[in-house]
């Protein structure tokens, strides 16, 4: 199943690499990824789409939280689009 994660991170050098590296390290294939500023200074928002099962999505979220620069992770797969 396709999962869409919204990941709020500290806007610091190398953070995108840490997040992308985690997907590679745990053998997830990224379908799409976008990064941009948020309305809050110093916080970036990543939207990452990945094809995985429920267990995989749960572990991915847990592993994202282990990254020190990650502030918040939301799995919005089940949320209706605007």
């Amino acid at each position: 199943m396709v999962h869409t994660f919204v990941v709020y991170v500290e806007n610091k050098p190398g953070v995108l690499n840490r997040v992308a590296s985690l997907f590679r390290r745990r053998a997830y294939n990224i379908e799409s990824l976008t990064v941009g500023h948020t309305e809050k200074a110093g916080v970036s928002r990543m939207t990452i789409v990945v094809d995985t099962d429920e267990g995989g999505a749960f572990r991915l979220q847990a592993n994202l939280y282990k990254l020190v620069n990650v502030l918040l992770v939301e799995d919005i797969s089940a949320t209706a689009a605007v």
Binding site: E10, G14, N17, R59, A62, K66, L67
Partner: protein, 569 residues
């Protein structure tokens, strides 16, 4: 107070309680080394940066707090990689500081430039590249906090040469950690406690799986109280050894690939597994499809990413093991489980009698004899540091540890060459402990350069080489699974006693069983480092053994003793 970045490094380390540091100087870290002369921190000069990381790791595991290693840029930093990965896999709190080329040169392939934060990204809990003196204090404080909180792990700080040379105002108080995304403190939901208590109460055949987390959390006493109160037997992982005294009647011993048969059978027959600070590694579960098929599972774990990773669990209690057990303990009912316990005693049966340890002296010197004699002579009170391979498993089986942090070994990564440097670090953490290195002839030669460090630091570490002339565990796999085709496992070794002599280390060679005890006694009385080269059986194997990926109950058992078969093979 205006200080250089280099001075700030030492000011901060002192404030973090660091008194010993393990390292090797070089160009990009020279400003920091130059400033060291002004500070009361003891620097241990290693012979290879890998040794520095294992020493920091051994220091931390022996209970010394966060271990610190320091090295220069480029090759100095890359030599640390194996030690960092070792600490990562075994959740050991270390901080590694590396010099980096000047910030203006980064990305230019300058002399001794390596992207060490990139290289160590997947093998550190977190890492930093610091390019301004102003950022050093806060970074070091964050690194120490991250390394030892939550699930511990290694943190690397790469500091450019100009950041070390630059000056700024040093203010420890205002350099507080700023980690908005880091939340190591977790606690389970109240309803999960209720469910767990009910599940434990109704279990007929429960087993506690006691892991490294028991020791890291300082929860050894609580686990023992819990087991005694509920009458639940305990199986240990390799890194869990020492968490519960080996002599405790509820302690079954080590589980997994080289665990005793009754331990693995108990797990396979259990109706409830209580996983305390362990992560269901493939070396303890065997085939996941047939693992503990009738058991419900409760996982008490500090790292949410470990939940349902290998084994699906029924209840996860996320948090510090000690805190969770403090909550659970008074609410657990005392229950009679004598039927289950006596069933496990039956499983144990005559296994102890079949043990190699009971063989009469047939002129052969078995590693198991050596380790069991070492246990008896040291009354189980030594701090033993093992390497990786057959001797490591024999040590786990035949040296009975009653104290936490009395066995230090590389479990997750299985790093050969770990033992000798880790033992040096352990000795710095616990100078009064009797430290023994138990190491194979293969692994010893990977880091034996650190013999010089032992001599230069004048420290008292005893070394027992279990020398079988093979890379023994690989040879065993070749014997069992590759029809004895011994590709690249026979070793042509130097005379280890002569080698030790060259360093001025007292040395002995033992090849007969009758000489083991007297030599160990002599070495224990010798006031300084000593080495014994034990020339043991060349083609002995570790039993029982669950082949990789096989069912946990499908063990290759110990062959019958010689007096039963009438043969000497």
């Amino acid at each position: 107070m205006i200080k250089t970045g280099a001075e700030i490094v030492w000011e901060c380390l002192l404030r973090e309680g660091v008194r010993n540091i393990f390292g090797y100087p070089g160009g990009a870290i020279l400003p920091t080394y130059d400033a060291l002369t002004k500070y009361d921190i003891h620097h241990v000069l290693v012979r290879h940066e890998q040794g520095a990381t294992h020493m920091a790791d051994g220091f931390a595991r022996a209970g010394g707090g966060v271990g610190v290693a320091i090295a220069t840029s480029g090759p100095g930093a890359t030599n640390m990689v194996t030690g960092i990965a070792t600490a990562m896999l075994d959740s050991s709190p270390i901080v590694c500081i590396t010099g980096q080329v000047g910030s203006k040169l980064i990305g230019s392939d300058a002399f001794q430039e390596t992207d060490i934060t990139g290289v160590t990204l997947p093998i550190t809990k977190h890492n930093y590249l610091v390019t301004h003196a102003e950022d050093i204090a806060r970074t070091i404080r964050e690194a120490f906090y991250i390394a030892q909180s939550g699930r511990p792990g290694p943190v690397l700080i790469d500091i450019t040469k100009d950041a070390q040379q630059g000056t700024c105002k040093f203010d420890w108080e205002s350099a507080k950690p700023q980690l908005p995304g880091y939340r190591p403190d977790l606690s389970p939901a109240p309803e999960d406690y209720e469910k767990a208590i009910a599940m434990i109460g109704s279990a007929q055949r429960p087993v506690i799986l006691s892991g490294h987390g028991v020791i890291l959390s300082g929860a050894t006493r609580l686990v023992k109280d819990f087991a005694e109160r509920a009458h639940i037997p305990i199986a240990m992982t390799l890194l869990g050894i020492g968490g519960i005294p080996a002599s405790h009647p509820l302690n079954l011993g080590m589980m997994g690939m080289h665990g005793e048969a009754w331990v693995n059978h108990a797990i396979q027959e259990a109706d409830l597994l209580l996983a305390f600070g362990m992560r269901f590694d493939d070396r303890v579960t065997g085939n996941l499809k047939t693992y503990a098929p009738t058991a419900k599972k409760i996982h008490v774990e500090i790292d949410p990413a470990e939940i349902n990773k290998n084994v699906r669990v029924d209840i996860a209690l996320l948090g510090d093991l000690g805190e969770v057990l403090q909550e659970l303990l008074p609410r657990i009912e005392t229950r009679d489980r004598s039927e289950w316990l006596s069933h496990i005693r039956e499983l144990k049966g005559d296994s102890a009698v079949r043990d190699i340890q009971n063989l009469p002296d047939s002129g052969h010197l078995y590693a198991a004899h050596v380790i069991n004699d070492l246990w008896r002579e040291t009354r189980g009170r030594a701090l033993v540091v093992t390497d990786v391979g057959q001797h490591q498993m024999w040590e786990a089986q035949y040296y009975h540890h009653d104290q936490p942090r009395s066995l230090i070994t590389s479990g997750g990564l299985g790093t050969m060459g770990f033992a000798l440097p880790a033992a040096i670090g352990a000795k710095f953490a616990r100078p009064d402990a009797e430290v023994w290195v138990v190491v194979g002839d293969g692994g010893f030669q990977m880091t034996m350069a650190e013999l010089a460090t032992i001599v230069q630091e004048k420290i008292d570490v005893k070394i027992a080489i279990i020398n079988n002339g093979f890379l023994g565990m690989v040879r065993q796999w070749q014997e069992f699974f590759y029809e004895k085709r011994y590709a690249a496992t026979p070793l042509l070794n130097p005379d280890f006693a002569k080698l030790a002599d060259a360093y001025g280390i007292r040395s002995f060679t033992v090849s007969e069983r009758k000489d083991v005890i007297s030599t160990v006694q002599e070495v224990r009385q010798h006031p300084g480092a000593a080495l014994i080269d034990f020339r043991v059986e060349q083609e002995d194997s570790v039993y029982p053994m669950v082949p990789a990926g096989a069912d946990l109950h499908a063990m290759i058992r110990r062959p019958a003793p010689i007096w039963e078969t009438g043969s000497d093979e």
